[in-house]
Amino acid sequence: MVRSNGDEATAWAAVLDNNGDAFVAIFDQHRDRVYRHALRMTANVHDAEDVTAGAFLELWRRRKAARVVDGSVLPWLLVTTTNLAKNLTRGLRRYRALIATLPRADVARSAEDVALEQIEEFRIVVRVRDALSGLSPSDAALITLTVFEHYSPAQAAAALGITDGAARTRIFRARTRMAATLEALDDDENIGATKETNR
């Protein structure tokens, strides 16, 4: 369960007064979870890095409008990450030039490359991405917050600006749709495996 964070609330108050140190503290606190979610949504290392950068730049640009849930901006960051990942081209347009200047340890490395080393980890990431891709951005954000990040439906509702009841209904439907998608993926894999075996 995610609990409210007094230190983060303090830091966020300072961010709203344009305090750079506080903003970097927020970045340090949440970057890993934002990145993991971006990877979950894109299944591509470079795209996930770009989306992470975009999410924090958006957080700064829209700091006055960002919703704070129980003292934390993480839910808002995760929702924004979902939206950016759902529309990479449009969502990151304003930050493309800046992101292009950021160096990377290995410019040729992509999730597909890494997958050769960590097939199981990557396979899970890809399956989750495929399952999330069938949902609307807001439903994908609801699933992310409640299933992967362990927020309560009420907290997820607050992050998205909808009622608790609406959130619960949409979470139920989205989980059902995701389950159907995962089942279909399983069937496809089984069929593929059978075909391989029969060759």
């Binding site: 344009n18 750079g20 970045f27 700064w60 800046l98 200047t101 999730a111 960590q118 980890e121 600006g161």
Partner: protein, 272 residues
């Protein structure tokens, strides 16, 4: 590197880019919270620029205090427009502005700060953040406020002249200044709030700077600090305003997980 961890080179560079982005943003001098009273706005104590100052409930030395002057001017417009806010009272120093978006769009205050509203911001009940507020200094001979917007964006502005006074920092028996950062700089002891808002106190500016990695002068330095900080939080003492009596600790860092360690600054040899 695992796929589940972000490239450390990219992380460090992004961190630097965020610092630069913040630095390039026009400085908001302070924020003002509004409350509608009987036809007037009642100014609450503001949130000022202390490194870790959290709320207006605690108003330490050095914080600016705004006193309302005259009437509130309210105007609703679509697109970029200039509002006449009348002749400033003799004692006015600043104009307090509260901007509410009525449609989606981007809205710019005169000081360059901006607000972006999307459809979710408009339908959220109650409004997620209320109006965006800024206090901008008066410009001699100018008694108008211009709000720039994206095309066809509608907004309501409430403006009021204020007299702003920055309270002086306190000075303790050791000659150290204490309070919040303001336009005069940074005091020796910076106001913080700890223990979920229940304790007010001060950290030494030198401790805070040291525990935060100082001022890295290169990407390599920032990267090295970033790596060292991945599993490490540093605590620094929180004092009464005397700079001697310890009332708690303030944690710098955000490391978590099984390998995270929280260590006092005094146990490290950081050379600062």
């Amino acid at each position: 590197m695992s796929t589940m961890e972000m490239d450390p080179v990219f992380t460090a560079a992004l961190r630097e880019a965020l610092v630069a982005t913040v630095k390039d943003t026009p400085r908001v001098r302070r924020r003002w919270r509004w409350r509608v009273g009987t036809g007037t706005f009642l100014g609450l104590t503001l949130v000022a620029g202390g490194v870790a100052l959290a709320s207006g409930m605690f108003s330490p030395p050095g914080a600016p205090v705004d006193s309302p002057l005259g009437n509130v001017i309210t105007a609703t417009r679509t697109g970029t427009a200039t509002i006449d806010i009348g002749t400033p009272p003799a004692t006015a120093t600043d104009v307090s502005l509260a901007l509410t978006c009525l449609t989606v769009g981007t809205f710019y205050f005169p000081n360059g700060s901006s607000m972006n509203c999307d459809s979710a911001d408009l339908t959220h009940v109650p409004p997620s953040d209320g109006p965006a507020s800024e206090v901008v200094p008066l410009t001699a001979g100018v008694d108008t406020v211009t709000i720039k917007t994206s095309p066809n964006a509608t907004w309501t502005l409430q403006a009021m002249y204020v007299n702003q006074v920055t309270t002086p920092w306190g000075v303790n028996a050791s000659g150290e200044t204490y309070g919040v950062e303001n336009q005069n700089g940074t005091p020796d002891l910076i106001a913080v709030i700890i223990n979920q808002g229940s304790t007010n106190g001060y950290v030494k500016e030198s401790d805070l700077k040291c525990a935060g990695g100082g001022d890295p002068t290169s990407r390599a330095e920032a990267l090295a600090w970033d790596k060292a900080s991945q599993n490490r939080n540093i605590t620094i003492p929180v004092y009464e305003s005397d700079g001697v009596t310890v009332v708690g600790t303030f944690t710098v860092g955000s490391a978590s997980g099984p390998n995270a360690q929280t260590v006092p600054l005094s146990s490290l040899s950081l050379g600062c």
